[in-house]
Symmetry: C2
Subunit: 219 residues, 2 copies
């Protein structure tokens, strides 16, 4: 029954063969530069500082880029692919704090900033390509080119607004409302991520999400 039809046209996917040369870094970096430019246009110097500061990396499905106990030393920009960041509680259950797909950032900001061990895991849910910047390089970027202070400041603010929104929803809405809002808000995610993971993000069991979906499909 009305399971949402999954058709991902693959033609949009820039198939990147990492082995064929230096172009891949160029392509990935270009995507990041476009992204920065959409916030505040960069001049040549700033753009080349970005090129120098970020390093590309291929991540295989199920590969971790952060593990509990590690210090989060990199800030990560997703060029292609899909990640989730989660916590494992005392009972051994996973709870998804965040997803990240193309043009999203991911990392444990707390650990990155304080340099204390993280309690979080970040794992690739698909084969992925990322650009990473080390903390020291990011600080240098901020000092040498103050514009990045502003840009990253806006990212953090946006993340905070989204987090506050989610808190309000968690304390005021039912799981069904949260699920409907998720579908509305993240159309790029819901046909790409398993319901198990979405349930964990919403804070319900997969079984209960299933009954919610059944109820919705009857409407």
């Amino acid at each position: 029954m009305s399971r949402p039809v999954i058709q991902i046209p693959d033609n949009s996917k820039p198939e990147i063969d990492w082995t064929t040369g230096a172009d891949q870094k160029t392509m990935a970096i270009h995507q990041l530069l476009d992204y920065f430019n959409s916030f505040l246009p960069l001049d040549e110097e700033e753009a080349s500082a970005v090129v120098n500061a970020f390093h590309p990396r291929r991540i295989k499905r199920r590969q971790f880029i952060l593990h509990e106990g590690d210090i989060c030393t990199h800030n990560t920009f997703v060029v292609e692919g899909c990640f989730r960041m989660y916590l494992i509680d005392e009972k051994g259950k996973e709870h998804n704090l965040q997803f990240a797909v193309e043009n999203w950032w991911i990392g444990d900001i707390g650990s990155f900033h304080t340099e204390q061990p993280s309690r979080l895991y970040i794992v690739a849910m698909e084969d992925s390509i990322v650009l990473q910047i080390r903390k020291g390089d990011q600080l240098r970027l901020f000092e040498d080119h103050p514009k990045f202070n502003r840009i990253f400041g806006v990212f953090t603010e946006n993340a905070l607004v989204a987090a506050q929104r989610r808190i309000l929803q968690n304390i005021s809405s039912t799981a069904e409302e949260r699920y409907l809002d998720f579908l509305d808000r993240y159309p790029q995610l819901f046909n790409r991520i398993s319901n198990v993971q979405i349930a964990s993000f919403l804070g319900v069991t997969p079984e209960f999400l299933s009954t919610i979906r059944k109820k919705i499909s009857r409407s």
Copy 2:
């Protein structure tokens, strides 16, 4: 070094009589400068920029400093007193997103940044004294004195980390665990704020919080 040159009235009592002259602004501002200095020491110029940019204001209990539909035009530093920021849902129920007491910031960052009408209310729970800065003045402060970019960046990051922590707790913990954590985490708040408000912050009804408290007291 940098302790800004601001006259401190010898009177160490926090009792502020607004009518007796200009000292009150001095005292309030001094508290804010101390606060900034505890993050990054300010030089004289920066300190005097703060003095010029922030305006003191007395807020009476039950008085609003932000109302749904308003655009949040100020960033607010609490010198003395206590506030809560909340949302009213479709059913007319209030849900507390945040509290703020001495040396905390409060405001609807989303509305402040986008200049769109807010959906939130901010109200004083006690007679209070605040220092406010207008958005334009804050931007000017950032431009003229880049250090404030960093300082406010740290504030925002800390707020984001706290918000993420709360999300994880909401999706992984029971109400009792959340309440115990609240007591642990905000000892300055729990004997100052009514249980009705705490319940609304935790996302439970006051009745249920009452049964939680009863259960805890029996241990």
